[in-house]
Symmetry: C2
Subunit: 368 residues, 2 copies
């Protein structure tokens, strides 16, 4: 055996008998490492194919198994960790990742730089959930977006993020809209005396991402919004340990295929609450139950718990349910989800007949 | 209306009536752009939500619709293109992308720099399919991997790629294994007089990717292997227009969730054959029918056609079926798939009792 440490992945998969299940588990271990038939692997290298542990039946046709791998199969690259976790077997239809333990590879996972406590410090709000809204719609000018930010900040909102579809379109170039919004929010803060954080969307193609994040810092933004499944998940880890030192809010765009199928992909609590958090998301937007998307209330509770609980020495992350919450129901959701939550409301504030300032003020009141 | 051009996405989704289908199509258009209820969108911005076209029933419970968007909703960022294509709606369980037309955004898609003709020129093989094998298993030393490369090149193989799980592990650091393999292949070429291309795996976390590609060039590699769903898809487009000028082979690790579910995700021919090709893959590895994975023969034919056919002024890309082909069946597959194919065989060559050189030579013979 190598002297390296280990890490482990828990898989769930379909099988009809324990013996078939053991065969599938062995196939997973081979597929993710040697990618050769067992008799083609030189004897000295066979320990790199991992060790099965805790194989058991979990429902009529489903079994679960932990595979413990030598950390040497990863080295020091987070993408190779993800490749061993789920690379080739992601193409098989009924295998699902239900947990992982970075083990001796913990240093690959920066975890949140700020986390729940850090974001609370930035807002000076300690005793209630935080509020968040999004600047939209796409197509608006920087002035219009800044006007919405001004009203929302006057209403006392805790965090304003860009809509995740605001990139660098000709109608509102990144530099102009970030400058305008920062300035509008600062003006509102001077009136209210209350801090509102601004997270512009820095999701951008490979060659532009870092510059976008650096400009956000330079123009006075308080945090960064990123869609990690679009940029690639390692960009999140890179930003989380960067010298920018800005909290990160992660958005689920493009991540549905990994999380919506019950028998495959990665369990939503593991994907959003453990993986994204371990990669460095200080707050994790997920599609709330009862809205336009498809997670169940149980899944949402599990995501919340995974964001907040102990995991791999990472700071806890704020769960940010969105897409299924409006200004009339947010007080109920507060009762369900508790204080360590950022509630994200978009459309319902925009529809308030009294305008964004009044909508934001009522939203704040609902959070107590 | 804006003076910008347009692009379009074709969606397929579940609905029980034409009227419900029209509602769903409108919801998709809103979700992917304004992300607001219709009555919250200012009148001057409503054209950014796209225009429905060609809505029709395609099976008992499925409808299809093309949405034509203003190119201004994207600007000049390929990730925002992907976000409009599939960002939030990827989280809805029964919506599938079945086609796209970059329209006026063609410049975002570099397409292959080499393509089928360019790779043929590099190998001087014009009248038959190309052969490819992979260096493995993970855990081997640079010397051992180079020894396998030497034998495969002596046997006349056209392309040798790294296993996609070879990253920068302590057992075989990237620099050492690339140097050793390049040198071994050159030595074999001197004996045979035949060119063998070498594509090391440069898939690496965000901060290391470019350096890995540059080192590959510096050490004399002939191409690059990358898993775009791990690095983020825009890294592929970046490399395809980079000054490295190396052909790219794209590997499907981590892309299963996008392509294996019949009612959601992105149709495999569109994902592998159009999207990856348009992003710049000169050759596209996909899991062949009949092997360890789950695509049907029809799906594989469709991927081949999408790689080779006309699309958005992009050079054609080599389809690279793998994972379901062995040295005994490759001649049959040649009959099915034709000459413009790179056949990738791994395990079956390693299992050849006569060793890799003999296995590779027989593989070459099967391709005629």
């Amino acid at each position: 055996m190598s002297s390296a440490g280990t890490f482990s992945i828990r898989y769930e998969f379909s099988a009809d008998t324990l013996s078939n299940a053991e065969q599938t588990a062995n196939e997973i271990a081979l597929e993710q490492t040697a990618e050769l038939p067992p008799n083609a692997i030189p004897p000295g290298l066979q320990h790199f194919t991992g060790t099965l542990s805790d194989l058991k039946q979990v429902s009529d046709s489903r079994y679960a198994c932990t595979i413990i791998y030598s950390s040497d199969v990863v080295g020091e690259d987070i993408l190779q960790f993800l490749n061993v976790m789920f690379g080739n077997i992601s193409i098989k239809p009924t295998i699902r990742i239900t947990d992982f333990d970075p083990g001796s590879l913990a240093s690959l996972f920066p975890g949140p730089m700020f986390g729940i406590d850090g974001i609370r410090s930035l807002t000076s709000v300690y005793e209630r959930p935080l509020s968040c809204t999004a600047l939209k719609p796409l197509g608006s000018s920087p002035d219009t977006l800044a006007g919405i930010a001004f009203e929302a900040a006057l209403g006392g909102i805790d965090i304003i993020k860009d809509d995740h579809g605001l990139a660098n379109q000709p109608m509102a170039r990144f530099e102009s809209r970030v400058k305008h919004s920062v300035s509008a929010i600062k003006k509102a803060e001077q009136k209210t005396g209350k801090k509102t954080l601004y997270f512009p969307n820095i999701t951008a193609q490979f060659e532009d991402l870092i510059q976008r994040a650096e400009l956000a810092l330079e123009y006075g933004a308080d945090g960064l919004l990123i869609s990690p499944q679009l940029t690639g998940l390692s960009a999140l880890a890179y930003l989380a340990r960067s010298s920018l030192e800005l909290p990160i809010m992660a958005h689920p765009a493009f991540s549905g295929p990994f999380t919506i199928h019950p028998l495959s992909g990665i369990a939503p609590d593991v994907y959003f609450g453990k993986l994204w958090r371990a990669l460095g998301a200080d707050s994790v937007i997920y599609p709330n139950a009862g809205g336009r998307f498809s997670y169940t209330l149980d899944q949402c509770h599990s995501i919340n718990s995974a964001c907040r609980g102990e995991f791999a020495n990472c700071r806890s992350a704020f769960p940010v349910p969105g897409g299924g919450i409006d200004r009339h129901t947010v007080a109920d959701w507060k009762g369900r989800y508790g204080n360590d939550t950022i509630f994200l409301i978009g459309g319902s504030l925009y529809l308030h007949p009294g305008g964004m300032k009044k909508a934001a003020a009522e939203f704040q009141q609902s959070l107590g």
